[in-house]
Subunit: 366 residues, 2 copies
């Protein structure tokens, strides 16, 4: 990872945005800029480089992971340590009235108040635009390689689910088998709580695996992802246990058509809203629009949900190198639900589906 | 769980604190007050009760989980929906100049700015004290029962680790076996990324399991916890692979003595700082104070880290019903480290160790 280049790019963005320093407090952003994976950190980026503030638990880890930032180990909250370090620096240089940017979506309201009090008279605290999130939208070659690796590992979990899903087996048992596979193959963890939603629970969009058992007949939504070397995978497959009725096949077919339409719509220059509408229009035609209660997709990388969003009102244009999920669904409360999700990387001419072939998405009946 | 009583208590605290409404945005607090486990929610608590705002993904789940709050499903961010709902309410009642409390540590600086803009002219936004966190420090009988259940399940993972830890096996494999056991027994997930830190990595305090292999000889720190019905367990055991040198035994013994001293210090009325000092004094006596680079413990319950903290400067007094970890350690960078951790519940006369007998903590040599 070229962390140094990322910090340099940010420095350019900062001076363009009239900020003297940016206090980076969103941990995935700290990792993106330095490689540091600890759970307590603040990174101060200014004209002379980057300084990482963390605490005594991370002495060894910070030294091992970070090559492009000064490391300051303190016994206070990293944000407080960063503020005091800045004030000390300004004392010596006698400069004042600097502009200190913060990440307004990751710094809490309480922390901003404390920060403003610490630098009062020396600097003014300003919400910075999402500079790092914008940079992170377009993945570089190293990142795409890591996303591919995570997805490759994630792909091995669906056969495990297929083998485990049988009437009477609990959703927990299915998730456990998948997660064991993931961990045994080196995943650092799951990118979110594995969703195994069987029978009527398939209508619960975020139906994390529960003690409920797989019924004799019905859909089972399996939505799962792993984290490998910091990068997330994400994939949803819906299978059917027992004979699938004509209605069940129609529902599944409509969602699959919607997903294909959305994938076909992905290319540089198209907005997130347009991709969302491509899926939604198909479901509308099938009379299912009211049952598609979430958006079509989201970026993923160091976080399972990141920019851009593929949803109504999103005018961000897709660009080559963005990695997004395409995951339409239809959920009839109390009855059943279907979701089909793949991850695609935007290419100069369209997109490449990273999570498997189209064939794989034909309705699996168990 | 008596969610209704918890909301009533909060209503009393609010009127005492001169707040008309509290916008609860910290999800564990939303769960504490209503039972709702979705990932997008805001709860507005006011004189006439509680209203939960969530989005279309959680229609079925909210109805199923929440019995003591009105449910409003919107297609905007829950906080925005709550603000608009309030403004609408005030329009009808013509009242204004209300005080709307926020949770300053969980609401982002950006969200507070948006909230203030939405209610401008109608209400003033004020940071509320951590009312719910304070209430949550003392667990009720239902909660202690759930923590015990989580800990009981968590306890079954250490034998799995002992059986799996052998020279040449990767840390990942050890973690995978433990996590499979947890999931198979019904855990919703792990309460944090399992730490398996072997050989020189045992000096990395937060050494999440990695691809590194167990060496022929050295310490292995195992720090692990499960989530069961929302409640967390937490436990650390350090074992030694191969013959333990006299120095290794001395290090282990010193940390164990420090842990015993801290446990002996726990009783109602004692401060977090005093418990921390009890452990620290023992390690100081052994010449190891500089290697104890973190605090002695933390509360746990719906979150893996919650109030109170057992650390220098913490003057919060322990009270019967609080549940805290006691986890001193000593880490010599690049060489080795030891940590021993148990969870205790404060009783009227001292504390009860929930995570096992003292016997279990004699150094295990594998």
């Amino acid at each position: 990872m070229n962390h140094a280049a990322r910090v340099r790019r940010l420095q350019t963005d900062l001076s363009g945005g009239k900020l003297d320093f940016l206090l980076v407090t969103h941990l995935p952003n700290v990792r993106y800029l330095t490689g540091f994976t600890g759970s307590a950190a603040a990174l101060l980026v200014g004209p002379s480089g980057a300084t990482l503030f963390t605490d005594g638990r991370y002495i060894a880890q910070a030294k091992q992971e970070v090559g492009n930032a000064r490391i300051v180990i303190g016994n206070k909250a990293p944000m407080v340590a960063a503020a005091e370090w800045l004030v000390e620096k300004w004392k010596r240089s006698r400069s004042a009235n600097a502009f200190l940017g913060i990440e307004p979506e990751s710094l809490s309201a309480g922390a901003r108040d404390r920060l403003a009090a610490l630098v009062r008279g020396k600097a003014r605290v300003r919400p910075a635009p999402p500079l790092i999130e914008r940079a992170r939208m377009v993945k570089d070659a190293d990142e795409i390689r890591l996303v591919r690796k995570a997805i490759e590992l994630g792909a091995t979990l669906f056969p495990v689910a297929r083998a485990k899903i049988r009437p009477g087996v609990s959703e927990f048992e299915v998730a456990a088998a998948m997660e064991y596979e993931a961990r045994s193959k080196g995943a650092e963890g799951m990118s979110f709580s594995t969703i195994i939603a069987a029978g009527p629970r398939s209508a619960v969009v975020h139906g994390r695996a529960s003690e409920a058992c797989i019924p004799r007949r019905g859909f089972v939504v399996c939505d799962f992802g792993v984290i490998l070397r910091g990068y997330c995978s994400d994939r949803t497959r819906t299978v059917h246990v027992g004979q699938a009725s004509r209605d069940a096949r129609a529902l599944y077919g409509a969602v699959l058509e919607a997903q294909r339409a959305a994938i076909a719509a992905v290319r540089p220059g198209v907005t997130g809203a347009e991709v969302d509408e491509a899926a939604r229009a198909m479901l509308r035609k099938a009379g299912l629009a009211q049952y598609f209660t979430h958006s079509t997709g989201h970026g993923l990388g160091l976080e399972i949900h990141e920019a851009p969003r593929l949803a109504a009102g999103q005018n961000e244009k897709l660009a080559s190198g963005m990695v997004v999920t395409i995951e339409p669904g239809a959920y009839v409360p109390g009855k059943w639900g279907v979701r089909i999700e793949d991850v695609v990387v935007v290419t100069p001419t369209g997109c490449e589906v990273l999570t498997g072939r189209d064939k794989e998405k034909e309705l699996v009946v168990i």
